[in-house]
């Protein structure tokens, strides 16, 4: 094996090991070199198995490439490079090492040819990424990080049990199509792995870790977080569960439900976290449909989403970095002092809203076309609604409240040059892919003569966007927006609820009540259970206290009697 043919994660892991040994400037050089070199090596590599070994009698393939995994490999390299450039000003070794290990684990996961390697990197993803949350070094971030870690580790354990069961039934650890249609123990294995993937993919009700932890990470850490974890899960679903009908409905739900949360959310990075789930929903729908067009669309959308979502997170990170604020109610009017950031953010917003000529358009339209082509009309309508919704909360709300709206009076400057460069790279990619989609299409797993720029697509999407914009303007003119009072900061969330038409508000309020009640019940149940357990197993509990010898002997007698009874009768 040549040095250029090592698995991609090896370069990142080695880099992470070397990093602490280097002085400040050299660290930056190394950080930039790793994704560049590793990316070039990957580009030169032919497809197939590159590294095989045996463990416990199973064939393992820790480094396997094909068109699907290589595409994810490319975008992860791009994302890692952009995020590293964006974070160059950071002088925090913990974050630097953690982000290298994290990116390496993501690459390791997509290039895992067997389920056991996948599990190892699955857990590494969780363990390394949590430090990007801890690195904020606040009590709040620590707690969010611990919740995040717990859920991720549970996902890994489910995966492990599923994998062992799968290996037991099929006798092979190879990571191929798994599906949910088998019988008996194979079905259990299939479901366990499915749920494990689902947790990382932020399926509805399993998504809370994402919106909880991502906005608590450092401004630069969130860029890494947004790129890798969910996309690894999308990749895993695409390989293991393509064409599973259930995914269509789960995905459609994922595109719709975050919109309601995103609209009332004040923390702009949390808004983006919700829109991340929404975009992943599109990919999940594509995987669920499972035709060549749909899978291409899902994968292409994952590729684009990494870049434009990264761009949006970067612009919000820049705002947070410069002003120290991220709540929509405290920001506004920043375009005067951060014009470049504003423009870059608008490019990201246009991409996520799928404006023609921007990257989101060329991939989202593939998923939508595939849904129509397979007669999923209701799903298509849901996706249409979701497209309008994402335009509202990510395309308009983010830039509007951060850079325009009422002038918050904050005067600052543009972010550091490296941040601007990183955002520019991402923005250029957004426009380039939007304008020359063939560049991306040639990398997709299936060959298709698909062209997004035909009259129906462009017209439909443009109509959608214009009517959404119209609705926004109309709402604004009708005074359904909060009046600009000097006391705006008093109760921001209350104001946000007024953004919604009043009718919707009443329904939603009931929904929140039920939602809160359920959460409360669950939480109280857990606390009660924990307390109950503690009375037995706590230091003073019957199970932990030192017993008098007499009681010990009594138990000996009980066990002896039990065994005698069992053996004699």
């Amino acid at each position: 094996m040549w040095i250029t043919e090592l698995p991609s994660f090896v370069y990142f892991y080695l880099g992470a090991l070397l990093l602490p040994l280097l002085p400040g400037k050299a660290r930056n050089v190394l950080l930039l070199l790793i994704p560049l070199l590793s990316g070039v090596f990957l580009w030169q590599l032919p497809e197939g198995n590159h590294w095989q070994t045996t463990l416990l009698g199973f064939e393992l393939t820790p480094f396997y490439t094909d068109r699907l995994s290589v595409l994810f490999g490319y975008v992860f390299h791009i994302a890692a490079f952009i995020a590293i450039v964006y974070a160059l000003h950071v002088r925090d070794l913990l974050q630097q090492v953690a982000s290298l290990l994290y990116a390496g684990s993501a690459l390791g996961a997509v290039f895992s040819g067997d389920l056991l390697s996948l599990f190892v990197f699955w857990e590494m993803l969780a363990v390394t990424s949590v430090f990007l949350v801890f690195a904020r070094r606040t009590e709040r971030a620590y707690r969010a990080g611990m919740r995040y870690l717990t859920i991720q580790v549970v996902s890994g354990l489910l995966l492990l049990v599923g994998v062992i069961l799968h290996a037991q039934v099929t006798g092979s650890l190879r990571f191929e199509w798994i599906g949910l249609e088998q019988e008996g123990p194979a079905a259990i294995a299939g479901w366990l792995i499915f749920i494990a993937f689902g947790i990382k993919c932020a399926f509805p009700l399993l998504h809370t870790w994402l919106t909880d932890a991502y906005p608590e990470a450092t401004p630069t850490g969130t860029i890494f977080l947004s790129a890798f974890t969910t996309k690894v899960a999308v990749y895993a679903l695409a390989r293991g569960y393509a064409g599973t009908d259930l995914l269509i409905y789960i995905g459609a739900l994922m595109t719709c439900f975050p919109i309601f949360y995103a609209v009332i959310e004040n923390d702009l990075r949390r808004v983006l976290a919700y829109s991340l789930i929404n975009q992943v929903g599109f990919m999940v729908v594509g995987i669920g449909i499972g035709t060549a067009l749909a899978l291409n669309g899902a994968v292409a959308h994952a590729f684009n989403d990494v870049i434009f979502k990264g761009l949006l997170f970067m612009s919000m990170g820049a705002v947070l970095h410069m002003t120290g604020k991220i709540n929509g109610s405290e920001l506004g009017g920043l375009y005067k002092s951060m014009p470049k950031t504003t423009i870059l953010c608008l490019v990201g917003a246009a991409s996520i809203s799928a404006f023609p000529l921007f990257s989101g358009f060329v991939s989202k339209s593939m998923v939508m076309s595939a849904a129509l082509a397979n007669d999923h009309h209701i799903i298509w309508l849901m996706l249409l609604f979701a497209s309008a919704g994402v335009f509202h909360h990510a395309g308009i709300k983010i830039p509007y409240f951060a850079f325009f709206a009422h002038d918050s009076g904050i005067r600052t400057t543009e972010p550091p040059t490296n941040m601007l460069i990183a955002m520019t790279i991402a923005a250029v990619l957004c426009v380039a892919i939007g304008a020359y989609p063939q560049m991306l299409y040639s990398l997709l797993p299936f060959e298709l003569g698909y062209s997004p720029y035909d009259a129906t697509h462009v017209l439909a999407q443009t109509q959608l966007l214009f009517f959404s914009a119209l609705a926004f303007v109309w709402l604004n003119l009708r005074g359904m927006y909060p009046p600009e009072l000097p006391s705006v900061n008093l109760d921001a969330e209350w104001l946000y609820r007024h953004l919604l038409p009043r009718l919707l508000q009443r329904i939603m309020r009931r929904f929140w009540a039920v939602d809160a009640l359920l959460r409360q019940c669950l939480k109280r149940g857990l606390v009660l259970f924990g307390d109950h357990l503690h009375t037995y197993s706590g230091p003073q509990g019957i199970l932990a206290k030192t017993w008098p010898t007499g009681r010990v002997v009594f138990w000996v007698a009980v066990i002896l009697a039990l065994f005698l009874v069992l053996s004699l009768f």
Binding site: L56, L116, F119, V120, E123, Y142, V153, V154, L157, L160, V161, I164, L165, Q168, P185, I188, L533, H534, Y536, S537, G538, P539, G541, L543, A544, T546, W547, T549, R551, V552, V553, W555, V556, I559, L560, L562, F563, L564, L566, S567, L568
Partner: protein
């Protein structure tokens, strides 16, 4: 010389023990004890090699042939256990010197090494002996040694813990003696091979059933199966750190060996199955052990006590492997025997290093350990990961085989519970890691004499050999897996 290895294995530490009393100065005593246990380790390595190449060894003591004389019988399983016990005994003793000097009064040190060697000799004797009565004799020798070791702890509760262990342990040994006596009454022999041949012809009699029950309960007491584990946490928590590391790595392992030897080797698989509903009883008790002991471990403040409860939980896994009553289950249990010895020795030795500086191992003593004693803290993390069963550590290998064994019988709920059990291990290991890396070191802590806050090098060396073994055998599994599989096959091979 080579033909006498089976007896030398036992006699070397046994004779070395009283010789220690003649030496002056704890350094000489330690070096001499280390030499003796090192010899025992070399002998066990040679024995394993002989057994692997030449098959089972039978040694007639004093030239008296088997049914009349005492036979020492070394098959693959015994050779494997001898290696575990003597290797752990040697490694722990290698790092013992500074820690024993710190924790024990000058007058007690010689007795510590004497008791240590006696205990080692007893444990090796149990495994080497081929007749049931000698097993009892060596069991008593090792138990007496361990009572002394525990009572030497400087916490006064150590005396009480040793006393309770003495009472309970004596009951256990008595049960074993009763069982052996009944068997003798029925078959007229004490030799295990003869017993195995003659028992089937009398297997209908109630006496044999009762003998079996007494033996199993007695052994379960010694191996601290839940709910007969109550003596263990206090004994481990208050014994000198070195004694804890040694006992945790070897004593319970030998008791688990006895369980397999008696029920599958002497009584035979078929009879054992007909006497007890193995699966229901032992899987149930094993699971109860895993969950109850892990939950209790979670809320302990004394780390030694916490790890002691974790030992009870880990023994639960071995009991589950036993209860599965299959070749795969036995392989898993035997494998965990080896792996658990490695992880607990590593962890308890690391705790010995903490005790060396802080005098105690309460949770608050760990605060800031990541900066003050980075190597020790890292070793605790390594051992902890292995305890959880993270891939690339030995813990993962044993869990993997155990889960496989459970799935082989379509007990997927059991497989799931085993994995959930590891989730509890994550919690208590995390409770240990959190203060080490996330809490600032308290400034008012008593500083040791010398200015280096890290543990003595001799101790660190041993700790890291053990941690490295945890990682090495997690990747290159040939030695333990090969032997465990072959030994399990020997037990189940005759079965149709």
């Amino acid at each position: 010389m080579l033909t006498h290895l089976p007896i030398l294995q036992v006699i070397v530490p046994l004779l070395a023990a009283p010789l220690c009393l003649m030496l002056d100065g704890s350094r000489f005593v330690w070096a001499f004890a280390l030499l003796a246990s090192l010899l025992a380790g070399v002998i066990s390595g040679l024995l394993l090699w002989q057994v692997e190449t030449g098959g089972t060894l039978s040694y007639a003591l004093g030239g008296w042939q088997a049914p009349i004389g005492i036979e020492y019988r070394i098959d693959l399983l015994s050779a494997y256990l001898l290696l575990i016990v003597s290797a752990m005994g040697t490694l722990v003793l290698l790092g013992a010197y500074r820690s024993v000097n710190k924790e024990l009064a000058a007058g007690a040190r010689t007795y510590f090494y004497v008791a240590y060697l006696l205990c080692l000799a007893g444990l090796l004797g149990i495994v080497a002996a081929g007749d049931a009565f000698n097993v009892f004799v060596f069991l008593e020798i090792s138990s007496l040694g361990s009572y002394i070791l525990i009572s030497l702890g400087r916490d006064r509760r150590a005396l009480w813990a040793a006393f309770q262990y003495l009472v309970v342990g004596t009951i256990g040994a008595t049960f074993i003696l009763i069982g052996v006596g009944f068997l003798y009454a029925m078959t007229g022999t004490l030799n295990m091979m003869d017993l195995a041949q003659r028992i089937p012809s009398v297997s209908e009699s109630t006496t044999v059933l009762v003998a079996f029950t007494f033996l199993v309960v007695g052994v379960c007491l010694k191996l601290a199966m839940f709910p007969l584990h109550v003596w263990l946490p206090n004994a481990y928590a208050f014994a000198p750190s070195i004694a804890t590391a040694f006992l945790a790595a070897s004593a319970t392992k030998v008791a688990v060996y006895l369980l397999f030897r008696f029920s599958f080797g002497v009584f035979g698989v078929a009879l054992t199955e007909s006497i007890l509903p193995l699966q229901e009883v032992f899987i149930g008790l094993g699971l109860a052990g895993v969950f109850v002991a892990s939950l209790v471990a979670i809320s302990q403040h004394n780390i030694k006590r916490m790890l002691a409860y974790s030992s009870v939980a880990q023994i639960g896994y071995m009991i589950i492997g036993y209860g599965l009553d299959s070749q795969a289950g036995t392989t898993a249990a035997l494998l965990h025997l080896f792996n658990h010895a490695l992880m607990k020795a590593a962890l308890f030795m690391a705790l010995a290093a903490v005790v060396y500086h802080h005098g105690s191992v309460l949770l608050k003593d760990l605060a800031g350990l990541g900066t003050t004693m980075p190597w020790t803290a890292a070793a605790l993390v390594g051992g902890g990961l292995s305890l959880i069963g993270v891939p690339l550590t030995v813990g993962f290998i044993s869990k993997w085989y155990l889960v496989q064994a459970a799935l082989e019988q379509d007990l997927w709920w059991l497989a799931l519970l085993i994995v959930v059990g590891s989730l509890l291990a994550i919690v208590y290991v995390w409770r240990m890691i959190e203060p080490m890396y996330f809490a600032p070191a308290s400034s008012d802590r008593p500083r040791s004499v010398g200015n280096t806050p890290e543990a003595p090098r001799s101790l660190l060396l041993v700790i890291w050999i053990l941690v490295a073994a945890n990682l090495y055998f997690g990747i290159d599994t040939r030695l333990p897996v090969g032997i465990a599989e072959a030994a399990a096959q020997q037990i189940f091979g005759v079965r149709f």
